[in-house]
Amino acid sequence: MGLNKNLKTISYLGVIFSLLGLADSIYLTIAHYTAPTILACPESKFINCAKVTTSQYANVHGIPIVFLGLIFFVVMIGLQSPMAWKSSLRFIRIGRLVFSSIGLVSVFGLVYIELDKLQAICLYCTGVHVLTFILFIITLIGSVFLDNNTHSINAKTTKN
């Protein structure tokens, strides 16, 4: 089963944004493990990477959140690949949607913690949040087109 033009675009966009997210996550992970070298207070006081990435909320049951972000984008690269979009396996199609939704819900939680508990944001973390939201949109729209793609192929198959 081939991908139509829309789905190819969706797939490429998905991979690109996943790679960007991975790059951002790698940077945050390295910063987390090598100790923050940002030895300055940002003038706005609200944008404070060190405060966010070294807070008590930076770990979930002992697992650094940056590490979870890294895993998220690695998996998303796979799920957004043309091969994954072509796949007729139901668990991949539904799994992609569920996984990106989990990412979105996590973003909500993290943004809430930044704004409400820490009253500071980390620009690099915000980058990850934005990319996760974009991937959710791509996955949602892609799933609609995927349905259309499947329907068209089925229609062709039936006709033939």
């Binding site: 909500f108 949602l140 349905d147």
Partner: protein, 280 residues
């Protein structure tokens, strides 16, 4: 595109719209971004520094500074091409910081050691950085209310905020830069003079319009858990991590000031300092 697909697309766009609205609600209702009434009290969480601490900070032995060299200091000054920054016909060292700021808390120890080689402080205060920020409760000095006299430089400190919460996630205002000072800070505490990640940072120090320092020059970790008197007395022990950090940073600051005073006075601009100057 068939009807079912069109319907699903509209539903998806609706979901996306709901998500965006939820984010907007989250942002608008957060304490930091909701309407704030900043309390500007001009009161500071400081008290005068005891004489013993002032004495320790302003009289670090030359032998100690020579033994430390640049120690564990990093964050070299950045040379800039700008008009001379002068005040009272002398090169001006303009500092912007805040009492809540842990990196400012770190840098002030080094600055006090360094500036003491060029002049005299009176009425130095002691305070601490925010208890809720990174490197919480770092014990430090404050330049607020202090005076500094020197034949070689004019030191202009501006502590813009206290360490007292304003109830809205920020801190109360302490000092406001003049229009001229603000113009300098806005211009040079920014790209292209500083790397983008340091733009707008404090502490920010402009040395005579020739060099900039943004951020702390040594790791704040060495000060964690230490009292004022412990930090002040450790400055004289060249082997202590505090001396390695603060005195090392002080030597870098001294070298930078010597660059703008044509190596005056010779008591401050020692052979070691002249060696350090070569790397600035």
């Amino acid at each position: 595109m068939n009807q079912k697909t069109k319907r699903n697309l509209f539903i998806s766009l609706g979901i996306i719209l709901v998500v965006v609205i939820l984010f907007i609600i989250l942002i608008l209702t957060s304490p930091k971004t909701s309407k704030q009434s900043t309390q500007s009290t001009n009161s500071s969480g400081t008290k005068p520094a005891p004489a013993a601490i002032v004495n320790d900070v302003t009289n670090v032995p030359e032998t100690t500074l020579n033994a430390v060299g640049i120690g564990t200091a990093n964050n070299k000054p950045i040379p800039i091409k700008a008009p001379n920054l002068l005040a009272n016909n002398k090169p001006e060292v303009l500092y912007e910081g805040a009492e809540f700021c842990p990196y400012c808390a770190t840098e002030r120890w080094a600055m006090a050691v360094a500036l003491s080689k060029f002049g005299t402080f009176t009425n130095l205060q002691e305070t601490h950085s925010s208890t809720t920020d990174v490197y919480p409760n770092t014990q430090t000095l404050s330049f607020y209310k202090s005076t500094y006299t020197s034949n070689y430089i004019t030191f202009t400190p501006i502590e813009i905020e206290t360490n007292i919460s304003n109830g809205n996630g920020g801190y109360t205002t302490l000092q406001t830069p003049t229009k001229t000072e603000n113009n300098i800070i806005n211009k040079y505490d920014a790209t292209p003079y500083l790397p983008s990640q340091d733009a707008g940072a404090i502490p920010f120090i402009d040395f005579g319009g020739k060099y900039l320092i943004a951020g702390a020059t040594y790791n704040p970790q060495v000060l964690q858990g230490k009292s004022h008197s412990q930090i002040a007395s450790a400055l004289a022990d060249s082997k202590s991590p505090i001396a390695q950090g603060a005195d090392g940073a002080a030597n870098i600051i001294i070298a930078t000031i010597c660059k703008i005073t044509n190596n005056q006075p010779s008591t401050a601009c020692t052979p070691l300092i002249k060696e350090i100057e070569k790397n600035i």
